[in-house]
Amino acid sequence: MYKLSKQRVLMILAVCLVGVVLSVPNFVPKSVKLPTWWQPVSLGLDLQGGSNLLLEVNMKEVVRERIGLLEDAVRQSLREHRIRYQNLSAGADSVKVKIDNYNARTQAMGYFKKLEDGLEVTTDENGTIEIKYSEQALNMLAKRVIDQSIEIVRRRIDELGTKEPVIQSQGSSRIVVQLPGVQNPEEVKALLGKTAKMSFHLVDSRTTAGDAKRGKLSNTSRIINSAEGGQLVIQRKAAVGGENLTDAQVAFQDGGAVVSFKFNTIGGKKFGEVTKNNVGERLAIVLDNEVISAPTIQGPILGGSGVITGNFSAEEANNLAMLLRSGALPAPLEILEERTVGAGLGADSIKDGVFASIVGLVAVVVFMILAYGLFGLFTTITVLINLVLMLGAMSFIGTTLTLPGIAGIILTIGMAVDANVLIFERMREEVKNGRTPRDAADTGFTEAWSTIVDSNLTTLVAAAVLFWFGTGPVRGFAVTLSIGILTSMFTSVTVTRLIITYWLNRFKPTKLPIQ
């Protein structure tokens, strides 16, 4: 083939043009507004500065809580049906109860199965029944808990006014939170560290904490720590739950900060009833298993709203109001990993990366020119177009450029010339075998093609695995490397060919510069 068809030439030029157009946003000042599909490469947190948190939802805690509720349900069911039982106990993931009578046991198992969907009820030879959640039910629970948690985390972070946070689930029990521009994540961490589970409990006025410790505790009550100091005995069952709250705000009363709250209709009704029936009793406001305050009910509160007084500073009251507004997390979150990069370091990394890229590029180009002369110059054009295409592709796909990603670009510069080297060496051989320059050039391209594909695809395989198993910056590196391999395969074959064909037609050389 001595000529490239018009369509092919147009196709090649079109691809290059698209690459140029797509990479333009990277050189436009940030103040210029561009459409969403025409954006510069987004920078990873390691380059623009920011904080990355990996949170884990404590699923064990969730399951334990559910099992606790299940135990109550089992007890109630047994009492309702007047079945005699022994050793009712709740473990980490199952409820166990012993029923000696065979018929009663079979009957009870039937009742238990109907308590809730997704329960597995089994029995052993001693007559002990074990009730637990099926694998499927647990997975669904986990998914629901994660989704809920993400929602709550998002609300809390939004309250702080963080710009463009990324909040995603990772695996079955984790949440990744990325906060661009956040240099000091302490505030965020403090907010995410609280479950903010609030509920109102009547104080058991007949039992003092001291009595309770000596064993005079009825099984409907429990001991709890108070933020005001000491301990209180409260009813196990919440009078009103925090899920009925609709709003919470900071207010000031008698010179101190308080948190005012509003209930929805159901909550308001319940709260009204409780306060009406228990005038003179104390109502404990419990947050995350600690009593904030336990005021005495002065009279019925029927409006569906109230205030929480405590020893709050304005800031504490503000945080509490915010936490109550955003809702309770279904389970405690643990911070497994935290990575914060300052904007200064990010900027330095970009500076170093760009400088290293330029040095690398110049070195490779000079080297190629010194080795291949004119064809080396052609390679230079190819490499530059490759860079533009890479940048364009990365901008368009919305890849996040990370520091290792920059390294990927620099390496691609070095490795991308491989295809050209393969082609040129092949041409040299063909000339040696007695072909004319034109013929040799043509055969060089065709013969080198399968080698280029094979060698690049193997690297692509490695990059794919990196993408699969890597997280964060490493993933960014794999994407950059893959894009680089694909664009360099394109440019080194098509663009080089275009230039060389043009050169052959225009100058009709009798000798190739690589000979």
């Binding site: 302490e186 935290e338 070195a363 620099i410 390496l411 060496e425 060698s455 695995v465």
Partner: protein, 312 residues
């Protein structure tokens, strides 16, 4: 002008001749590396070991000893301080909180910040829990193994099984020796290092495949040539390409090593080292090893499988 044109000249080197020596060198290096791995161990970064890492910067030169004394009251395990940057105004602090859990690490960060105060710029603050570290370690090993197997599967698919075996040997050779070097020089092992090792695997296999491609082609072209000569000829045919590509990649890697900043230092070291060891192993392990098989027999067998009446 073309002062490097000597590279693009034909060579006629007998690569197979010193194979006893090169095998011996490779086996020695691999064994030494394995020994280092087990008895010297690695300098794991916090990605894998868990812990706290901070980088601070000050207007003036930082007195490392003074900071060490200030921080010693916290009783942190394995507290290491390392000066960064040319002017000595940057410092890396690494520590393990005493009872190694996420919460104590969080507290450690807050305390370090309290002690050092706000006159420093906190350029990097990282905390990785021990659990995550273990998981990342496992994921890193799994990723590397799967990458190698996937690459070899591809080679098997495109060539013969002997080639896949040769490629596998070459890859293990490169990775083990590189890892041994990382151990010997106590380089920081982080997730980025794993990425670098896999990139080097990609480079090495790329080189190997180019050689294999030529061997396959020549097997078809030169039916009468002895296998020994054929492998040698194939390596020589593309030797200039091997050197050129190696050198251009080295150019890029050196630029990265010299100017890419501290964060990419161990990454670029692996690549630098990898280009050299990868080029060596492609020839002296992956290709030379093929000579133990009778490649022509497999090739003929395959041809017969495809067309049982081919010789009629």
């Amino acid at each position: 002008m073309r002062i490097f044109s000597w590279i693009t000249k034909d060579t006629n080197i007998d690569f197979l001749k010193p194979r006893k020596l090169t095998y011996a060198i490779s086996i020695f290096l691999v064994l030494a590396s394995v020994w280092l791995m087990f008895f010297h161990g690695f300098n794991y970064g916090i990605d894998f070991s868990g812990g706290v890492l901070m980088e601070i910067k000050s207007e003036n030169k930082i007195n490392v000893e003074q900071i060490r004394q200030k921080l010693s009251v916290l009783g942190l395990d394995e507290l290491t301080l390392q000066s960064l940057g040319e002017e000595g105004n940057e410092l890396m602090i690494r520590a393990q909180a005493d009872n190694a859990n996420e919460e104590s690490q969080r507290i450690a960060i807050v305390k370090i910040k309290e002690i050092l105060g706000s006159s420093y710029e906190y350029r990097r603050v990282e905390s990785v829990g021990p659990q995550v570290g273990d998981e990342l370690k496992r994921a890193g090993v799994i990723a590397s193994v799967i990458a190698i197997l996937a690459i070899c599967a591809y080679v098997w698919f495109r060539f013969e099984w002997q080639f896949a075996l040769g490629a596998l040997l070459g890859l293990f050779h490169d990775i083990i020796i590189t890892v041994g070097f990382l151990s010997l020089f106590d380089f920081d092992i982080s997730l980025t290092t794993v990425a670098a090792i896999l990139t080097l695997a990609g480079y090495s296999i790329n080189d190997t495949v180019v050689n294999y491609d030529r061997i396959r082609e020549n097997l078809r072209k030169f039916k009468k040539m002895s296998q020994y000569d054929l492998i040698n000829k194939s390596i020589n045919d593309i030797f200039s390409r091997t050197i050129l590509t190696g050198l251009t990649t080295l150019c890029a890697a050196v630029a990265l090593f010299a100017f890419g900043g501290d964060a990419l230092r161990s990454f670029s070291f692996v690549i630098l080292f990898g280009v050299i060891i990868g080029t060596y192993s492609s020839i002296y392990i992956s290709c030379v090893f093929l000579n133990v098989f009778d490649l022509r027999k497999t090739q003929e067998k395959r041809a017969q499988d495809v067309n049982p009446f081919g010789n009629v």
